[in-house]
Point group: D2
Amino acid sequence: MKIGFIGLGRMGSGMAANILKAGHEVTVFNRTRSRTSELVAGGAKAAETIADACRGDAVITMLANDEAVESVVYDEQGVLASLPQGAVHISSSTIGTALAERLAASHIAASQRFISAPVVGRPDAAAAGQLFVIAGGAEEAIRDMSPLLDAIGQKTFVMSDTPSRANLVKLSNNFLIASVIESLGEALALIGKGGVDPGRYLELITSTLFAAPVYKTYGGLIVGERFEPAGFAAPLGYKDIKLTLAAADELRVPLPLANLLRDRFLTLLAADGGTLDWSAIGRLPARDSGQAA
Amino acid sequence: MKIGFIGLGRMGSGMAANILKAGHEVTVFNRTRSRTSELVAGGAKAAETIADACRGDAVITMLANDEAVESVVYDEQGVLASLPQGAVHISSSTIGTALAERLAASHIAASQRFISAPVVGRPDAAAAGQLFVIAGGAEEAIRDMSPLLDAIGQKTFVMSDTPSRANLVKLSNNFLIASVIESLGEALALIGKGGVDPGRYLELITSTLFAAPVYKTYGGLIVGERFEPAGFAAPLGYKDIKLTLAAADELRVPLPLANLLRDRFLTLLAADGGTLDWSAIGRLPARDSGQAA
Amino acid sequence: MKIGFIGLGRMGSGMAANILKAGHEVTVFNRTRSRTSELVAGGAKAAETIADACRGDAVITMLANDEAVESVVYDEQGVLASLPQGAVHISSSTIGTALAERLAASHIAASQRFISAPVVGRPDAAAAGQLFVIAGGAEEAIRDMSPLLDAIGQKTFVMSDTPSRANLVKLSNNFLIASVIESLGEALALIGKGGVDPGRYLELITSTLFAAPVYKTYGGLIVGERFEPAGFAAPLGYKDIKLTLAAADELRVPLPLANLLRDRFLTLLAADGGTLDWSAIGRLPARDSGQAA
Amino acid sequence: MKIGFIGLGRMGSGMAANILKAGHEVTVFNRTRSRTSELVAGGAKAAETIADACRGDAVITMLANDEAVESVVYDEQGVLASLPQGAVHISSSTIGTALAERLAASHIAASQRFISAPVVGRPDAAAAGQLFVIAGGAEEAIRDMSPLLDAIGQKTFVMSDTPSRANLVKLSNNFLIASVIESLGEALALIGKGGVDPGRYLELITSTLFAAPVYKTYGGLIVGERFEPAGFAAPLGYKDIKLTLAAADELRVPLPLANLLRDRFLTLLAADGGTLDWSAIGRLPARDSGQAA
């Protein structure tokens, strides 16, 4: 297929590379042009404009937040204005459900197709083509795009024919991760102040009931206080919890644990923690109990 | 070794059976005598009194709560009064840290030895000798008792030479499980009201980041609303969260997520949920969002 | 002065009437025209368009929410397009700080003046000219408008020369009221389930430390479960708490009690409580404790 | 009447003085004997033992906490062992409902009478005989003791014929005060970080809807950060919130706001705030938002 790829951050560049490797014709666009060089060396074309990346069968957007997606799509020369009829916009960014609904409606009105395909995994999984893809959209569109989804991920989970539901699932996934961070942070504050060795504790729980990667990864970061450089920066985690709460507002679902997480991020950010990994909220329970700084 | 075993509930009977199988001489005691018959058929002796179960190298207590342990130990003819000097009391019940500290001091004063050895696992794991043992106490005592600990569990984690710290770890472990229930309950309320199929959602998360038994088990219970019969009844979960908070009070550690859990259990119990499995608190977020009953 | 008044709801109609009584020349506008008749009978002119209400020295807007204010101000023929240079827009609606900042900037850019003057008090106080006015804006503009502010309120509190700060104060005021409702709701659930007569309890607290109108009013509503007809409907209370949290997000201030209130409103609204008075959240603690419906 | 008074702290000494002034024959006891001298100078007798203070028509206990009351009452030579049949024990301490129930049962079993009569007010009100008395107990006992209750307070509120309900009311009263502190703390953190002058803000709210002493007193303490010397020390506030939660546990009433308060006190005490006034928890929201220390 002939496709465009917009957004070459740490996730996007790995995803685009894997699509290229799978034999597709890829035109890439990034606001900061220098990030295209490696992909161009690998055979991609560099687009001068967003519109130039929208002349094929599909365009994938992988951007930082709602504002970036809105700007790229709704610009006068943006995706919506440039994509051919029948072509597909695959949105892989972690965005809010309200924007996903608006995108779906806009593309339908423009006789284009739209699927939400947010991904689960860190940059190394993106580079290895080992992401998990959470897909939402018309069955036919997802089937047509499956060669692309297969190129970026190890498995695609089709959640719904309503695109925004895939975004809701992705947000809830990040909420679950943040909940693990909070619960580990509280447990470690408790046993640590009680005199138990945190490393030994972590070994115990991650080799028994909590033998999942998410406990090992985040437990290690919290115990070692390894919050820099950020794998996933606190402002992004904060953004995702706010998007989760916005969806919950819309649906009328009280989420007390999500509220707690929101306050943790606010506290961290108010104390200049904007450059830290989001797991740094897991250190706040220790601070509140008078341990360390 | 010659040992006594007090408390033949669903956990204790499996543990005692495995010690018996390992070739030790076991005298069992249970308040309700009928529960001893199967073990007696397997070669155990039935004690008429608590004191009769305290005449060997060690006695293991596996009881429902602090009150039961206190009564068995501090009775005039109880464990403390009956155990020979140098013999070991192994406390496997999930009790509070304050009681564990009191037990340790009492046994030292009586020239007896004491170790805390709470276990992780459900009744089926107890029957299979596949529990995890969290041990706290003097190194020598734990070493001397290792044949017994090996008989009941697949692995022993020695956490500290202070017995009560093993109890703190066990409480924090149950707090972590309850946190998983809460976070799953909120996530399921959100995506469910948003129109996503809960079963498909569960499949997604448990085959990606949350591929741990604890998410599969509790996710399945919540989605299927299979809260009866209770594997671990709500009042016991409530008790453990209260013991966690009591330890946190003592140590001056604020635990907002544990508070939320306490309120969930109170809400469940206030609505006559005392016979349900503790995972039933994971249905409250759906209720608060106006879904189902 | 010659002034316009836009928004003749239960609050606005009382305010406009008092300005008229104070001898000013008043032109009123309301989306639903029928609401103007009583004021016209009293000497006011009815404007056909928003623009017609913007031809004097000042225009006061008193509308239900941010969306209504935005529409009235930023419409092509709206306040911003119609108000003469140097004239003053007095915004008395309870709106968010972000919108207030945007309004301030827009009016400056258009060489108009802007003050925020949200009010405290119920419709009966508005009718009696006994509101409290919370004013923010340039000193000179507030001084010039003081005859109007004096006409609608018993006292004006000038909080800042930045208009949006008056809105922040108003939001925090409603947050404090909702906090009173929550705390009373919890206290009443506790003593009620404990067997104490709620009426006698209320008499005690409101004649000792809590002898403020806010405790008497809301305590009476909760104990009597008099939630219909709504004096201030739950969706409005929910809106104000959300605006409070939005301001807190912007300023990076964690507000756990405001989060709790947000969840209370969500729970109420999810259970079809949209027509009830906002004090109905004060009944939820009793429900969670298994009392009544 | 001939009465004993046990516990001459800052509250008790004022109360005892007023009973003396009212013409009763008073025998006082305090663990630290020196505190009796002023009252003896005023005509009281000093008891050598608790028993010596229990030989009249009634004995009043005004002590710091449950432990002190338990020790004074259940000592071998304590109140229970010493009070004549038919005489009345008036317990004015702020104690838990469980202890109040136990005291009531003990006194009935000993053919003595018991009323709970906790008081509302600070030491200056105690000195002036201007406390509010919250009474619970048999109607006849309260009537017989009314001359004493009238001597210490400006008004007696009879809440129930079950003594412990008066204690429940007193605890809920302190919960309401702490809720005011929390809500003011959050509001002040918000408007303060938003650039509003806290003093002016306080003037506004306390001269409008929140014109109650409790807002003036605590608002002033928080804004001025006047937490030393403590009028009511943080550990006492913490104790009362814990007793409130213990009563709520017993009654199965979830109290999320009380949980938040518990965590605030834990955070304060973990940071060595044990000597501060309990209103110091009202400074924590500002700290969490990155303002000041």
